[in-house]
Symmetry: D2
Subunit: 423 residues, 4 copies
């Protein structure tokens, strides 16, 4: 049985088939020669399932879509503060061919424009290999396969790299470039020539959607803070110079590349990638932008709308006999975020447990945000204080132990013990 999601992606392609305006990038022969009718779309969930349609195996150069990932890597290597010192986070608000350097400091406005991306590349720690090798390995970890450079694209870009050299020398002269200008530009151009498919990109984007953890390998490639920061920057600086237009209309943190690709990330849900080589005046894929708009609308991916967490962390409440004593069992579920933990706490206060023993069964809980960890500890302390005995079933040790002022603490039971006690 074919997934309705695949059916939808097929429809997306067929319904945008009429869009033939724009032209492939023409500043190097390798991009100009692209088949303008190639088209592909892929979607990857935070569970790692990839759905793809169209020319999903077609490889093209990643170009500027490499920028967000290189930026995240630079933050991991140097820390956010050092990176922020050298590169801004403001939308440029200027024509796409502007230099976008702060007139006073010479600082690039953001890491999504070329000047910022060159400065970013120079911040990547080389760790005994070339920076480009390191970036490629990182792309490999994100996409789950070996990523290689399209050498023809790289050579051509290097031959027309005057503008990037100009930016690099300016950055160096104002102290914003951590590396040698020529070397940084060469490395940056090779980074942009990495060859990918929409499926690769969707998985890379899904890693961002998943808070930095590669959904298939489960490997944490970026810390939560870097990921969150990067997504904010993509939301305001990733597309168009007119930040508000994209944020209001499409509402997905995104980044386009001049070969025709666009990636988008809906935090907590999916990564998407589209491809079609014909570009508009901003350098974005015409059909790609249309596909992104439809994806946002059809799949409810707009940042300001998509976010609808479970209303309650409380799956069920049961009063049982536990090892011969009456007990109230609260079965929790899902992610414990502010709104879900608030609902639980609200319930406990409105209808306090009537039994001495209170059990919180967290076996079905996926993730506990700091706010929930803290709040649940405080709630437990209050219950202890009122004379309750607290049992927690927390197989993944999501909440910490603690004892109150009178030396009383929570008890930890394994799920098996709870099961046998209930039996």
């Amino acid at each position: 049985m074919r997934s309705p999601i695949l059916d939808y992606l097929d429809t997306l392609i067929s319904e945008t088939d009429h869009i033939s305006s724009g032209e492939p990038a023409d500043y190097i022969p390798e991009l100009a020669a692209a088949d303008p009718d190639k088209v592909a779309v892929a979607l990857c969930t935070v569970n790692g399932t990839v759905y793809a349609s169209g020319d999903a195996d077609h490889q093209f150069s990643i170009q500027s879509m490499s920028k967000p990932f290189a930026y995240a890597l630079a933050i991991e290597d140097q820390g956010l503060e050092r990176v922020r010192d050298l590169i801004g986070v403001e939308p440029s608000g200027e024509a796409f061919n502007e230099l976008s350097l702060d007139p006073e400091t010479g600082k690039p406005r953001n890491p999504m424009i070329n000047a910022g991306a060159i400065a970013t590349h120079a911040l990547i720690a080389s760790e005994g290999q070339s920076r480009v090798e390191r970036v490629l390995k990182f792309f490999g970890s994100l996409s789950g396969r070996t990523i290689e450079i399209d050498e023809a694209v790289a050579s051509s870009e290097l031959a027309t790299g005057d503008r990037n050299l100009g930016l690099a020398y300016l950055l160096h002269s104002s102290g914003q470039l951590a590396g040698d200008p020529q070397e940084s530009v060469t490395g940056y151009i090779r980074q942009c020539a990495a060859s990918v498919t929409v499926s690769d990109l969707a998985l890379m984007a899904a890693t961002l959607a998943n808070g930095g953890v590669q959904p298939r390998t489960g490997e944490r490639l970026l810390c939560r803070e870097s990921t969150r920061h990067l997504l904010s920057v993509m939301a305001s600086c990733g597309m168009y110079d007119a930040a508000g237009d994209w944020l209001t209309g499409v509402g997905i943190p995104a980044k386009s590349g001049v070969a025709g690709g666009i990636i988008g990330v809906l935090p907590g849900q999916v990564g998407v990638a589209v491809f079609s080589p014909r570009l508009d005046g901003h350098g974005n894929s015409v059909r790609g932008v249309e596909m992104m708009q439809r994806l946002s609308e059809d799949l409810g991916l707009h940042l300001m709308e998509a976010s609808r967490p479970a209303r309650s962390a409380l799956r069920e409440t049961r009063i049982v006999s536990l090892e011969g004593r009456p007990a109230t069992i609260y079965v929790l579920q899902g992610d414990l975020v502010l709104s879900s933990i608030e609902a639980l706490v609200h319930e406990l206060i409105q209808s306090p447990p009537t039994t001495d023993v209170v059990v919180f069964d967290m076996a079905r809980v996926d993730e506990v945000l700091p706010v929930a960890r803290r709040t649940s500890s405080e709630m437990a302390a209050k219950l202890l204080d009122e004379g309750h005995r607290i049992v927690i079933v927390d197989p993944e040790s999501m909440v910490e132990d603690f004892t109150d002022s009178r030396g009383r603490g929570i008890e930890r039971w394994s799920p098996e013990r709870l099961e046998s006690a209930l039996a």
Copy 2:
């Protein structure tokens, strides 16, 4: 038992008590005379529960925090297209005292700066009353109590309104102002003089967090699209001219007022409001900004991080005997959004039901996004096509009826019928 959330808000106030830099706004005596040590914070969930601490009953003028609500009202009245024609959505990227009119069109850059807010006010339909009365009633519906104007503030502001008059005449001359300049400025200034508490504001903000539905009355005050659009604009234009700074650092759609208030909205979760009269050079409350940053960090409210929907819509799967025939029951829960419906569909395809009868129990489902409605219908059609009989328990009629090409359709059962059939 006191809620740990209230405890947290108390702590927030005490831990920011050392912040005494900045000065109350001094351009009118009424603001200059504000007690600079007043401080308050309130948080309201999408269920309508309000938690407040500090001087929570202290009234102050809403000032620029009126802008987002008036903007939403104008969109409801005129449609988004008409409003977009007259007012932009781009961050100004300029000093806070800039005019922020587009040099070519004379169009205000966004509705959060004064020029845009005056143009906004003039777009509100008066409907047989003054525009100000209409706005006040709207504030009343949002906050659940009668909101009145602080006439002393209004008179003082009117007496120093030259700059706003200047903006209004310029807007009128370039065709961006739908009303008379003098009248529009008077109305706008009175709108800003509406008197509110942090609790009022938190509930107003929670209505935005709740997609436009007032959490307590359940009344839909704004459509989803207006709300989504407004929140996008607040995210990029609400605070600071440096949009990227706020979006990366705090990550909450927000708006400040010159009397010292700030509201913030985390879509799907909470509305928050803080108050402290001392302002920084941007005209934002110094302590208020610090409280917002802590709220974001402590409560996990950053837009790019907070969004963690339930991983699966599938609460449980049971194989039972139903009216004598083996049946598979899928018990669904929570909100059906892309990622949750995808997980369900994925499960159904990987492990197709082995019984003829398939039951989807949606009694515990909170909301169904269009993407989920469409996908579930398509999935049902595929199951019908493979010969299954489909029963839906959908007491709130969240999915539509349909029949496939051979005239077969889904059956709708009430929860009671399912219960008795299982018994």
Copy 3:
């Protein structure tokens, strides 16, 4: 016999007859209804001779050409420092419909754009009459005839004055407007509606060319410093936003009006005025700009080229017998400026006078700049010091008396005494 200069002006009109692009200003009916084929040119020397050709008696509204004269009047009334405090002198470098207010101070960039001209008008001292009456009287003194307001134009402009009102309120709010916003705009609009001919304008411009002295009446209407300052501002801000374009290409301090007039001033030589109602996108008369370019080229009026003072102040040197003693008579002529006085001094040092008596005959000298007054005094002192007896024939008392340390001084003779002594 007809003057070749008149012939030239006739030719200028006939050779620009093919220019028919552009349209009369259309924002008020009175300007839109102008006969687009009217054309006129006038030239006035610093001696007050006016040459005019075409529709030289046709009256039209002065519009923005009133700005430089009002600015000079404001400087006379308030002093340059006060005026500079409120109004800048920098070219706007922006589209002609920009507000051109300094983003930090709210100060208009220069007095030739509307904001600056409104601020200028408000600085004119009313002296017991309305500001407009005062301005009209000043225009009358400049042009040598009574100047009146075209009331139809004034009323129409007032009815569409929203933009000017907007500017005036903004100026008032930032403390840049010395008067009431409504009154200042009304006065400014009436000032712009003054009705003039090209001959009036050429005479007005010639007053500026003549350093502030009306060439016909000989009345000093503006001090030298105000005139010099005004001409500098006209050179950089009078036409186009692209200051360098006009300065390099035409090189004449100038100002255009939206009714189709343009005035130009070549310091020390002539004032010119042209008229043709069809405007280009900058709001300048298309044919008028062409005529100004030809006038500059054909008549050698470019500021950087026109300036060719007499190479020597020394008309002739004669050795004569004066009252029985040998004497050297130096006959001076023209204007004594740096280069001419330097040439004289150089001659005196290279070939010192061989007679005891030295006579400087200044009867033919037109004007003595401070530099020449000072240098000639110093030179005289040196000659006295070397034992010469110095006689000065200085009927207009251009140089001051002085005595050297030994009490010796210069002798002053009347021209008649010199003549009879020579006889």
Copy 4:
């Protein structure tokens, strides 16, 4: 006997002796090590007389004062149109460390900022030698002595040339640079390291004041049009970013260099140069600016005031007997510009000659502008037409021959013939 002009320059130095604010440029050791107390001033007339005071023989690097001369050379080599295509003429109106490239075209705003000066250098024709050699030879022709490079300065600048390299690569990428980026920057930096004295600079500036003719050698080094264009650009772009400030306050086309020099040009009169190494925040010599302001004020050099041509070209009118026939002799003098020729024509029309024979004695005329040549020919034609016989004494062939429609022409006599005829 010492010239009062030298005395004045001495005074200028002693009266600015108290100015000690600012610091020498410190970005290379060679400039940082400059003796900050060195000071010099020189003035050169259009006759080539140089007056200098202070450390007049002290050599320092020409730096940005090389820009105007290189620009003039590029215009001579490539034509104005080609140069204008690549380099603008607008004041930058931006902070002095801005890139000042047009955001749309990548074109440098003007040739006085670094980007424009690098583009300028690349436009100089090398003519079988290096561009730098050519520039040095040109500096040599202008200053009348061999000019050499300070190699220590050149090497140091090259070592810190990243910013210039950045600009050059950017220019090259947008097609604004006619040469190789590395080579252009090297050449430009060496051009700036040329070693000069204030006397050299004053003579170079005087060549500009003299319309492009070196005053001492009489060699035309630049055509009038290039010179005029260059002076216009210096007037608006040479100093400060605030063009209006310099033009209104000092009013002399000028250019400063970072080693502490400033040159100024008063067209038709003088070139001046000052030197003092301490710089202000704009990179201009603090004491140098003060000296320029005083020179302008004290010597009457303000562009809008200095220009005071002789009021009449007519030295005297005599009625004599010439070869037995009554004749009117008009003795002309000085430069024939618009205002002087107008006065002559005016006189001829008001008081037409009463004799058949009319003689124009042009032996004392210095220069004839095209306007005067044309006007005088037309005047002669009119006189011929009225039956006069016209004799011209024009030893330097300043006016052309012509015959009227009836074949009559002017007669040319040598000065000797006139003299013997009069005798």
